[in-house]
C-alpha cells in the first residue's frame, strides 16, 4: 500500500506517509449536535527526512486559525501494489487540530502526526476504483452485506446528506461558517498559547528516567496530551456563541490579577447587560447538561508546592482531592504551562501561590486523578457573602478565552487513582508521582 497526499500550497507527500486514518462522524439527528459536533477527522502519520520536504506541514500548523490560509484542500490517495486506486479522499476545507513531531536519538528518524478536521458544511469526496468493482459484484449477487460506506457512490450520497443536514442549521450558525474566515476554537487552541507551549508528555519521570512497567501504564492513563481540544466542552460550542458566552462569563467577575490583594470582597460591582444575562442563562443550561462525572472520569487540578508535599508525606499523607477541580478533558488542552493555567483556571485569587510561577516561566505540578465521589452538575462554587473574585459562580472558570467547567469537591473526597505531573514552560510533561492504592498516597517516581 502506498499513499499520495496532496495539500494546497504545493505540498505533495509520496514517500514519507506511513499511515492514514479517517474517522467519519455520521450526521446527528440532534439539531444542536449536527451543527457543533460534526467531526470528520483524518490523521496522517509519517517519517521526517524520507527524501521529502515535510516542513510545510509544520508551517501550516502555525498559521493562526483566523487566517483563511489555515484551511486547505487535502487529497489522500491510497494505491495498492498493482497501482489501483483503493481509496481517494478529499477534504475540501481541512484545518489542523493537532500537529506533533517527534525526534529520537535512537535511530535518528523523526516522525510527524497531523490531525485534520473537515470544516463543517464543506464537502468530502470519497471515491475508489477497486471498491466500485467489488461493490458492483456484490450488488449483482444480491448480497446485502456490503456496507454503504465501502461504496464510493453511497459515500458521496452520505456526504451530500451530511452536507444538507449541516446546511439546515440555524441561520446564525451559517453566518458564523460563511461570512468570515471560520475560527474553530479547537484549532486555535491546538496551536497552543502565544508563547508556543503545547502539552507534550515525554514518557519520562521528572528526574528524566524513561518510564517502564507500572509507572509507564499510569503515565499512559493520565497523560495530559491525550486530551484534545476538539473533545473539550469549549470546542463543542459554536464559534459565534462561544465568544459571546465566554465574554459574558468573564464579565461576571474581576479582570485577571485585579483582586490579588483581596480588596474585592464580592462581585457586587459587576454590571451585566441584558444580553450578558441571557448568555448566562444559556450557560446555565449548558451546565445542567454537561456529561456526568463518573468514577473513572479523570479530573485535573493544579497544585502548589505545599499541597504537593502533603500528598507525598509518608506518615500523614493527604489522601483527598479538595476544593475545585475540572475534567481533564475540558482543561488539559488549555493548561499547557503555568502561565496558561494561571490565566485560564483563574488562579489569580488572593493568597495564591501561582503568580510567581506564571510570571517566571516556572514548572507547575498538575494532579490528574479519579475518585469514587462524583460531583453532579450543580456542585460548583456559588456566589454568597464570602465568595471573592475571581470566582464566577456560574460553574465555569473566569477564563477570558475559554469555557471551562469546574466542580467542587468541598473539604475533600478520597482519591482512588491518579498521577502528579510536572509541566515546564514549554508544555513538556513528566511523571512526578503516582498514586499507591495500598499506601494511600502519592509516591515519587524515581
Amino acid at each position: 500500500m502506498a499513499f499520495k497526499v496532496t495539500i494546497d500550497g504545493n505540498i505533495v507527500l509520496e514517500k514519507c506517509v506511513e499511515s492514514v486514518s479517517c474517522n467519519v462522524d455520521t450526521p446527528s439527528d440532534v439539531f444542536s449536535n449536527a451543527r457543533t459536533k460534526c467531526k470528520n477527522k483524518m490523521t496522517i502519520m509519517g517519517r521526517i527526512g524520507a527524501d521529502e520536504q515535510t516542513i510545510g506541514l509544520y508551517q501550516w500548523a502555525l498559521i493562526p486559525s483566523n487566517n483563511s490560509e489555515s484551511y486547505k484542500k487535502v487529497v489522500v490517495e491510497e494505491i495498492d501494489e498493482d497501482g489501483m486506486l483503493v481509496r481517494k479522499i478529499c477534504f475540501q476545507e481541512a484545518f489542523i487540530v493537532g500537529y506533533a513531531e517527534t525526534f529520537t536519538s535512537y535511530d535518528g528518524v523523526g516522525y510527524f502526526s497531523i490531525d485534520l478536521n473537515e470544516f463543517i458544511g464543506s464537502d468530502i469526496e470519497c471515491s475508489s476504483v477497486t471498491d466500485v468493482t467489488s461493490a458492483s459484484n456484490s450488488s449483482s449477487s444480491g448480497s446485502s452485506e456490503v456496507s454503504p460506506k465501502t461504496e464510493s457512490k453511497d459515500d458521496n450520497v452520505s456526504e451530500e446528506s451530511s452536507s444538507k443536514e449541516q446546511k439546515t442549521a440555524p441561520v446564525s450558525n451559517q453566518k458564523s461558517n460563511t461570512t468570515h474566515p471560520p475560527v474553530f476554537k479547537g484549532s486555535e487552541g491546538a496551536k497552543g498559547p502565544a508563547d508556543g507551549a503545547k502539552l507534550t508528555n515525554l514518557g519520562v519521570s521528572s528526574s528524566g528516567k524513561k518510564l517502564e512497567g507500572k509507572n509507564l501504564a499510569i503515565n499512559e492513563k493520565f497523560r495530559g496530551d491525550q486530551f484534545k481540544v476538539e473533545d473539550s466542552f469549549d470546542a463543542s460550542i459554536d464559534k459565534a456563541r462561544h465568544d459571546e458566552l465566554t465574554s459574558a462569563n468573564y464579565r461576571t467577575t474581576c479582570a485577571l490579577n485585579e483582586n490579588l490583594d483581596g480588596h474585592l470582597l464580592n462581585n457586587d460591582n459587576v454590571k451585566l447587560s441584558d444580553k450578558d444575562k441571557n448568555c448566562l442563562n444559556e450557560l446555565a443550561d449548558y451546565r445542567k447538561d454537561l456529561s456526568p462525572v463518573k468514577e473513572d472520569t479523570i479530573m485535573q487540578k493544579v497544585i502548589d508546592e505545599n499541597q504537593l508535599q502533603q500528598y507525598l508525606d509518608k506518615d500523614n499523607p493527604r489522601t483527598v482531592v479538595s476544593g475545585c477541580a475540572s475534567k481533564a478533558s475540558d482543561v488539559a488542552p488549555f493548561t499547557n504551562n503555568a502561565d496558561e493555567a494561571y490565566k485560564n483556571l483563574r488562579l489569580d485569587y488572593n493568597g495564591n501561590k501561582f503568580l510567581e510561577k506564571a510570571q517566571n516561566g516556572d514548572s507547575m505540578f498538575v494532579m490528574r486523578c479519579t475518585s469514587d465521589y462524583c460531583p453532579n452538575n450543580s456542585e460548583h462554587p456559588v456566589i454568597n457573602a464570602y465568595t471573592q473574585p475571581p470566582c464566577t459562580g456560574t460553574g465555569f472558570l473566569g477564563s477570558e478565552s475559554h469555557l471551562l467547567p469546574e466542580y467542587t469537591y468541598g473539604r475533600g473526597q478520597t482519591i482512588s487513582d491518579g498521577a502528579i505531573f510536572k509541566v515546564d514552560k514549554d508544555g513538556n510533561e513528566s511523571l512526578h508521582a503516582v498514586w499507591n492504592k495500598i499506601d494511600k498516597r502519592y509516591e515519587i517516581v524515581e
Binding site: 500523614n316 479538595s322 464570602y386 470566582c391 467542587t408 473539604r411 475533600g412 499506601d439 494511600k440
Partner: protein
Amino acid sequence: MFMIYKNNLYHILDEKTHYVIITRQKAKADVDFLSTKESFYKEIPKDDKYIQDIYKVQFFLKWDSHLDDVDNTWEILTEHEYIKDNKVLLKFVNGILPGWEVEEQAVCSKYVGIDECEDFKAIYTCTVKNGKVLMNPMVLEQKVSKEDFQNLVLEHQIRNI
C-alpha cells in the same frame, strides 16, 4: 472504607471480587500479609467469616463563627492536620471568611480550640454490621464526648490504622 476484621481496624480496597485489607501497624498483620515499605496488606474473600463491620465514617462538631450565613456544623476529616495540639481545623469551602487562612480559591481554614466546640458526633454508614451483609446501608449517629471524638478521629487516621 474501613473494616473491623478479627477485632482489628483496617482500611479496605473493594476490588469487586475480593477485599484488600490494609494496615500500617505490623502488630495487626499476621504471616499472610504482604507488605510495601509502609503498609501491610492481605486479600480476603468477600464472604470471609471474620469480617465484622464495613463502614464509612464522618465526624462532625459545632462551632459558632458568629458570621451570618455560616453553618455552625463543621466536618472534621481524618487527614492528619485536622487535629493538632488540642485544636481542630475548620475548613470553609464556600468562600473566604474574614481573617481565615486562604487555602485555595473559595477554601479557607482556621484552627480553633477544641474546648470552644460542642455537639461532637460520628456518623457511621455501615454496609456490613456484626458479620451480616446489609441490604441497605445502615446509618448510625453516635454522640460522643470531646475526648472520645478526638480519639476516634485519631484512630481513623491513616498512620494509626
